[in-house]
């Protein structure tokens, strides 16, 4: 890579050719404030709209100020990031943004966690000089999952880049012009009526509270306070490795403390979604083997991710016969809580409130789907995100770091390592392979780790030898990658036996409901490492070896893939319109 020499604030910088001024300045520890700019290289999320103009710097010999995030650092440039003109312009830009932004920071969802708020603080803005019209748009909570408040939108267009380019869902576009410009779905439709998959990746990149989850915290406090109700909680595999971030425990497995914390919040039972994941695997592996034996439709696609399911329903309605019919792990655990557990312990299922703590916003939508109920009982009643759980712990004054470790409750608290890796891209297919291999060959799987399906590459492939036959495995995370995989299948370019798709880049560890990583992908990598560590340390690492899963089938469900299992644990898909 060739180099260019320039100076920034009279400091000599040798930057790589093609670097932006912002990145070149970082080399000499000069921070140029940015707001709309975002570059998450590993997932190909690059927002370079230069729309906020907060990064304006003075370049000698150039008439106007240059947006440092979108201007290339070139040979001989003399840049001043702190000339009076640059300082004044930068402040004016932020003041103008604030002039059309609600000043309800005290009661805002992103209070203390908002990039616009931080920027205003960093620039020492004490007064909003400009007064004028304020945008007034209708707020949208139609989906019960994703909350849109366009009054807080600063038109950075990060959500558009994420949705259109990374996820290729294409919900958002800048609509109208001038002061009336707003980022909106087609025809200003409510989100529920669009092809939005509620992956919530837009909430991960939104710098303000224009896009957040629909919060169910208030409802949950009510439920927890109701003595008549039996409130059961479950936590997804990816929560235990992210909840610690709030308490400076990045990449630390906080399972024990998390369980303690949930008990202190007042839940009657603390189950593990991982148990549901083990059940998912035995059902899914069974389905896979049946399809192979009976010449059924291949590849089989994993169906744990509700965003991914909605994506295929809208975008590839003619491929709806390929996903596994299994419900997702938390839905499975929900059904089993209101049937198996309720019967076993003689609890009235109508008094049970099933709460799922999920890394995901789409799970809030998933529980509303009409298929997700059994005998008039919703499989799961409330979903809160990791962020909402952390907010509740803070509100309850729980000192998380000081909590003792505790264990999940049985009969649905034990899980194998196969379930733990559900939280990361490649994990579900690896878990399925461990069981499928043993069931198909009748032999013990010695090399448990399938390294070729791990890691952050957007598309991964592996060929696995099962009894002398090669099985082609595909893995995609991020819906743009999923689209490539499905296009190839549809056009007959590629053939696979089994495919795993997770909607969020990195999988659930980077889910839409996870703590904001603000573009720091290193956090996501640490989460992934932590998950594989938990798996490696488990005594049992194959779902079908889970003794409580075996017991569940013996005592209650009967045959794997049998009639009762099908009735309770499987679902169907619906073709939906592109809009």
């Amino acid at each position: 890579m060739s180099k260019v020499k320039l100076t920034i604030n009279d400091i000599a910088v040798e930057a790589e050719k093609g670097m932006t001024i912002v990145d070149a300045a970082k080399l000499v520890n000069i921070k140029i404030p940015t707001l709309c700019h975002l570059n998450i290289h590993d997932i190909k999320m690059v927002n370079r709209t230069a729309s906020c103009r907060v990064c304006l710097v003075e370049v000698e010999g150039r008439r106007n100020l240059a947006p440092a995030c979108a201007t290339e650092a070139v040979e001989g440039m003399k840049i001043n990031t702190n000339s009076l003109r640059a300082i004044k312009s930068r402040r004016a830009m932020v003041e103008l943004l604030l002039s059309d932004h609600p000043t309800d920071c005290l009661v805002c969802e992103r209070n203390t966690n908002c990039m616009l708020q931080s920027l205003a603080a960093e620039l020492g803005i004490r007064k909003i000089k400009y007064e004028g019209a304020m945008s007034e748009y209708k707020k949208d909570s139609s989906s019960q999952a994703l909350y849109r408040n366009s009054n807080k939108c600063i038109m950075c267009r990060r959500c558009e880049t994420m949705c259109n380019e990374v996820q290729t869902v294409g919900i958002y576009s800048a609509v109208d012009k001038g002061f009336e410009t707003v980022v909106s779905p087609a025809f200003g439709l409510p989100m529920l009526d669009t092809q939005c998959v509620f992956c919530g990746q837009c909430t991960q990149v939104c710098p303000t509270a224009a896009l957040t989850e629909v919060s169910h915290v208030a409802k949950l406090w009510e439920v927890l306070a109701d003595e008549d109700l039996h409130v059961v909680v479950q936590t997804a595999p990816a929560i235990r490795v992210t909840i610690g971030e709030k308490y400076d425990m990045d990449g630390v497995d906080c399972t024990g403390k998390m369980v303690s914390a949930l008990r202190r919040l007042g839940f009657d039972m603390v189950f593990d979604t991982n148990f549901g994941a083990d059940v998912t695997i035995v059902e899914e592996a069974h389905e896979f083997i049946q399809r192979i034996k009976n010449g059924g439709r291949l590849p089989i696609l994993t169906s744990c991710c509700p965003s991914w399911v909605k994506f295929i329903e809208h975008q590839f309605p003619n491929l709806l016969d390929i996903p596994s019919s299994c419900k997702s792990p938390h839905i499975i655990l929900g059904v089993l809580t209101k049937t198996y557990y309720a019967e076993k312990y003689n609890i009235d299922p109508s008094k049970i409130v099933m709460v799922s703590v999920m890394p995901c916003i789409a799970k809030k939508y998933e529980i509303m789907r009409p298929e997700m109920q059994h005998e008039d009982q919703r499989n799961v009643d409330i979903v809160i995100t990791t962020r909402e759980l952390i907010a509740m712990l803070t509100e309850a004054g729980i000192d998380f770091k000081a909590l003792p470790d505790d264990d999940f409750d049985n009969p649905m608290g034990e899980s194998t390592g196969a379930a733990d890796i559900f939280g990361t891209t490649g994990g579900v297919i690896e878990a399925a392979l461990r069981t499928t291999y043993e069931w198909m060959t009748g032999k013990e799987l010695k090399e448990i780790d399938f390294h070729s399906v791990r890691g952050l590459d957007g598309l991964k492939e592996a060929t696995v030898d099962i009894d002398g036959k090669p099985f082609r495995i595909g893995v995609a995370h991020g819906l743009g990658n999923a689209r490539i995989l499905l296009d190839n299948i549809q056009e007959g370019k590629e053939e696979y036996h089994a495919i795993e798709i997770m909607a969020c880049p990195g999988g659930c560890i980077d889910g839409g409901g996870q703590p904001y990583h603000m573009g720091d992908i290193e956090k996501v990598k640490k989460r992934m490492e932590a998950i594989y560590k938990i798996d490696a340390a488990k005594p049992l690492r194959k779902s079908h070896e889970n003794p409580y899963v075996k017991k569940l089938y013996e005592e209650y469900l009967g045959e794997i893939g049998g009639e009762k299992a099908h009735k309770l644990l499987h679902t169907h898909f619906t073709a939906r319109e592109k809009i």
């Binding site: 259109n164 869902v169 294409g170 919900i171 958002y172 576009s173 800048a174 609509v175 109208d176 012009k177 909106s184 779905p185 087609a186 025809f187 309605p317 073709a575 939906r576 319109e577 592109k578 809009i579």
Partner: protein, 175 residues
């Protein structure tokens, strides 16, 4: 679901015409503005289902089509009247009281909400500078330019349109 043409809630024959036009183009996504222009020519405006049809046929998000259609004031999502009167609101026309001319048209045609008269005969809208500032204030009546228009001229202009209408009862939108 891939929709058949008959499932769109618009005139199927017109939709076929638009489809044929789109098939005749070669440049792909870059043709969106031309396609929207042609669609407006065919339908008189851009109903939601026409935008959806365009998006799906082009394989681009409907939001993007809607974004472009709302950006340019040339495009309209409301049905247009048989006669279209556009009042220029560019700076020169504005300072020459174009707004008074606009008000006069709207009040004479009893247009209260939206831009189109109740009988669907007239649409009165505004345009940005059409480059005839020397004639300010300027209006366009069915594409024909009228210069130095005063509010008191409005009645005569409307009478002219009606006379024209009666003399050539077949005259309507250009085909």
């Amino acid at each position: 679901m891939a929709k058949n043409m008959s499932e769109y809630k618009v005139d199927t024959e017109k939709l076929h015409k638009l489809g044929d036009y789109m098939d005749s183009l070669e440049r792909g996504e870059g043709e969106l503005i031309n396609i929207l222009r042609e669609a407006q020519e065919i339908f008189g405006y851009l109903p939601q289902d026409v935008q959806l049809f365009i998006a799906r046929k082009m394989g681009i998000p409907a939001a993007k089509v809607f974004g472009v259609a709302t950006f340019y004031s040339f495009f309209t999502m409301e049905p247009r009247g048989k006669h279209v009167i556009s009042v220029c609101m560019g700076t020169a026309c504005f300072v020459k009281a174009a707004d008074k001319v606009l008000d006069e048209f709207r009040s004479r045609l009893k247009i209260v909400n939206g831009n189109t008269s109740e009988d669907g005969m007239y649409t009165v809208d505004t345009v940005r500078c059409i480059g005839a500032c020397g004639l300010a204030p300027v209006i366009l009546v069915n594409g024909k330019v009228y210069g130095r228009v005063k509010p008191e001229d409005v009645a005569t202009i409307l009478e002219d349109i009606e006379t024209d209408e009666n003399m050539h009862s077949e005259v309507g939108l250009q085909q």
